[in-house]
């Protein structure tokens, strides 16, 4: 059945909301890729079996990601009457207990992450559900706008999405707003591109709207290439309709007739759920001709990428869609005036599109109350690496690094100390721990030589070597360089060679000057963002962690104990109890020793694989 009016949509919203509320205890298993990797599928199967065994007095459905990767697999329980609670990590055996208990109306205390606000009788607005677990350290400073529905609905059910107001913002645009009015609202909200460059979204749309050509395109950039950033995957896997609705609103505002979603090849689940969402939306008449009975038509194609970091650059992405290799071209002309098939094209990232319906549903003013003067709204960050709580966090822009890393992230693991946070992926840099007072927004991080980028935050502790980190990123960018510009293609490779020299203890003091000179040359001489920003990880670490480079060069020592050629594994005789665990796992038989006597590592045989350190429960393996 096709939806022909706002009334039809309202009815579906009520129906969807009632289905979400349910009349029996309901279990929502977080089944985005990260949940799956932690074993959510077995939890889901177990739940189905247990519910069948109990005579189907409960129900279970899959949902997207609540963001707290550390405690995956996560399960939310909803009791009739609206009481809700989140649990994690939930393993299959324990799922049985949970179901048994909850079907009697009792929410167990064990493994509880926290109680969530009670489900209201009528469908809530975005503002009502933006902060759901206000008592939990990981959640209490979060405002979830882009990720509002992730973990709330079955991403493969359009009815669930309706229940939480999907396509209501579109209906509002069609019924009450003009295209110019929509663009003005987006301009007023202060929304900027969430992909890194931070260009004002409304302004971009305006260029395309004002272009005289008849054929126009929208592109959703879901080629999330930054290692360490995965919010777009989570949004697509958790709430694909938010992205479709955002694009529909963009199409109405710019009069584009056709859209393309370009998804990374590495995200098969996101592609599958997006495909389902597109088919469902088409079946309901939300894509195609005369959408919601209005004189408005739009449809889109899903295109799968093929694994190239540079294809996230907008002109390279367009080249790839057009059937060529993903090589960037000079700008201007910008895609907003000359993009896909030479037509005016708006390109925005998944997260940017997902924000649009929320802004229209609430208001520009509401969205703009979050963030700073220049950087309004919220941003999803992937907080990973050496913190206790890893996961996706959505906070107002302008939140300090300290708040994100130490409060939401829970600080370092016991016995460790934080050293830096790497922001913005290969285009970003490292911010040292003594600058965690910095506010996370577009301007501040850029002023500090890094960028906010797409929102990756990899936390590094005293076990991370900054030379190794710089080398890691250069290895990445040099192999992902498309090869078009010589400074990027050749220069990054040369810088990598120098870093490899330093990491093996063969570096010289003048290498540091060489690195700096080359870095500046590559920044100046490259066409696209990849080359322009690739030297950032080296430049920021050289500036803030020069001592560490010098230790490698002058003392032939890696203070963090990472660089292979400069370290030796040994056993601390005092701490070793001679339990023999290390001896058993050593793949090269480098460890010897009598039972209950301190063991020894033969440095000649040791391949520094770290197996011994992993199994030693007495912390007796030392790296010197």
């Amino acid at each position: 059945m096709k939806i022909r009016s706002k009334t039809d949509l309202d009815e579906l919203q009520q129906e969807g909301w009632q289905q979400l509320r349910g009349t029996v205890p309901t279990f929502l298993v977080g089944m985005a890729s990260c949940g799956m990797a932690a074993g959510a599928e077995r939890v889901f199967q177990k739940a189905k079996e247990q519910i069948a065994k109990q005579g189907n007095n409960c129900r279970v459905f899959q949902t997207g990601c609540l963001g707290f990767c550390q405690v995956e697999p996560m399960v939310e329980v909803r009791l009739p009457g609206g009481d809700r609670c989140v649990y994690g990590p939930v393993f299959p055996e324990w799922m049985e207990n949970l179901i048994e208990s909850c079907s009697k109306g009792v929410l167990p205390d064990d493994r509880q992450i926290g109680r969530i606000q009670t489900l209201p009788a009528v469908p809530p607005l975005v503002a009502d559900i933006a902060c759901q677990l206000p008592d939990h350290l990981f959640y209490k400073r979060q405002i979830r706008i882009a990720s509002r529905n992730c973990g709330q609905i079955d991403p493969e059910s359009i009815l669930h999405a309706f229940g939480l107001g999907a396509y209501q913002a579109l209906a509002k645009c069609l019924a009450e707003m003009t295209p110019a009015g929509v663009i003005q609202e987006i301009v007023d909200s202060g929304l900027r591109g969430r992909g890194g460059a931070g260009y004002p979204t409304g302004k971009k749309w305006l260029f395309t709207k004002e272009a005289s050509e008849k054929r126009k395109y929208l592109i959703c950039n879901a080629d999330e290439g930054d290692p360490g950033a995965y919010m777009d995957r989570s949004l697509l896997e958790g709430d694909p309709h938010a992205v479709l609705e955002g694009m529909l609103i963009g199409a109405f505002a710019t009069s584009a007739q056709r859209g393309v979603i370009y998804v990374r090849r590495e995200y098969p689940l996101a592609s599958r759920r997006l495909q389902i969402a597109i088919e469902d939306a088409r079946a309901q008449g939300l894509l195609g001709e005369k959408i919601l009975g209005a004189n408005f038509s739009f449809d889109l194609d899903l295109v799968e990428g093929a694994g190239a970091f540079v294809s996230g650059e907008e002109t390279a992405l367009i080249a790839s869609i057009e059937g060529r290799i993903a090589e960037p071209r000079p700008r201007p002309p910008y895609p907003a005036v000359q993009g896909l098939y030479d037509c005016p094209t708006v390109i925005n990232k998944v997260e940017t599109w997902a924000n649009v319906p929320a802004i229209i549903q609430q208001s520009a003013h509401w969205y703009g109350q979050y963030g700073t003067e220049q950087s309004k709204g919220t941003k999803v960050f992937s907080l990973v690496g050496a913190v206790r709580n890893t996961g996706l966090v959505e906070t107002p822009l302008g939140t300090s690094l300290a708040t994100i890393v130490e409060q939401i992230g829970g600080g370092p693991h016991p016995g460790r100390s934080l050293k830096a946070v790497q922001t913005g992926g290969p285009s970003g840099g490292c911010i040292p721990a003594d600058r965690f007072d910095l506010s996370v927004d577009y301007e501040t991080l850029e002023a500090h030589g890094s960028i906010m980028g797409s929102g990756g935050m990899v936390v590094l502790d005293d076990r991370a070597c900054m030379v190794d980190i710089a080398k890691y990123f250069l290895r990445f960018t040099s192999s992902e360089s498309c090869g078009k510009c010589t400074p990027c293609r050749e220069g990054l490779d040369h810088m990598l060679q120098i870093l490899e020299r330093i990491a093996t203890g063969e570096g010289e003091n003048r290498d540091l000057d060489k690195l700096e000179t080359m870095a500046l040359g590559i920044k100046d001489g490259s066409l696209c963002g990849l080359g322009k920003s690739a030297p950032n990880p080296v430049l920021t670490t050289l500036r803030d962690f020069r001592q560490e480079y010098l230790a490698h060069i002058e003392e032939k020592r890696c203070p963090a104990g990472v660089c292979r050629e400069l370290i030796t594994y040994t056993i601390d005789e005092e701490a070793c109890t001679g339990c023999g665990a290390c001896l058993k796992v050593c793949p090269t038989d480098a460890i010897s020793g009598e039972k209950e006597l301190p063991h020894l590592i033969n440095a000649e045989l040791c391949i520094k694989c770290a197996s011994c350190r992993e199994v030693c429960t007495y912390d007796a393996i030392r790296i010197v």
């Binding site: 360490g228 393309v260 194609d301 093929a306 060529r324 199994v615």
Partner: protein
């Protein structure tokens, strides 16, 4: 799907070449020379264009992969949590280097940029299954080389 049908499906659509190559790769698990030639003709584009796309992107392979395809994630979070050691372990135990396939066609090994499961780093993917929170011991259990065809050596 035969190559004509693949070309028919993708001709003049957005993502034409990558889309058609993905479908072509699904037939044999890799891109064969003959297949690319037929595809270029059917899509009415130069073979050089098909070949340049096939060799530019890392998802396309010009040689078969193993029955168990191991992908070691080398995103930043995985790197700082020991991805290098995991890769070496796989290279050692499977007697392979990155990009290689074992002579019996059972195993192949690849390094991938980022699987987007950074919260569970380090991560290794075997065929379609992603395994999080890897370490040397768990990886050892995952590999467990086993000649018996009836026993799936990669399920944990």
């Amino acid at each position: 799907m035969d190559i004509e049908a693949i070309a028919q499906n993708w001709r003049n659509r957005p993502g034409m070449v990558t889309g058609a190559l993905h479908d072509l790769q699904r037939r044999l698990g890799y891109l064969d020379e003959e297949g690319m030639k037929v595809l270029a003709t059917a899509l009415e584009i130069p073979l050089s264009q098909v070949y340049s796309v096939a060799t530019f992107f890392s998802s396309f392979r010009l040689a078969p992969i193993g029955r168990y395809h191991f992908q070691v994630c080398h995103g930043t979070a995985c790197h700082v949590r020991g991805a290098v050691q995991l890769r070496e372990r796989l290279e050692r135990d499977l007697h392979l280097t990155i990009g290689g396939t074992s002579p019996d066609g059972n195993y192949s090994l690849e390094e991938v940029r980022c699987l987007g499961c950074c919260g569970l780093a380090p991560v290794v993917q075997v065929n379609e299954d992603i395994h999080g929170r890897m370490n040397q011991i768990r990886l050892g259990r995952l590999i467990r080389p086993n000649e018996d065809e009836n026993e799936n050596p990669v399920k944990n």
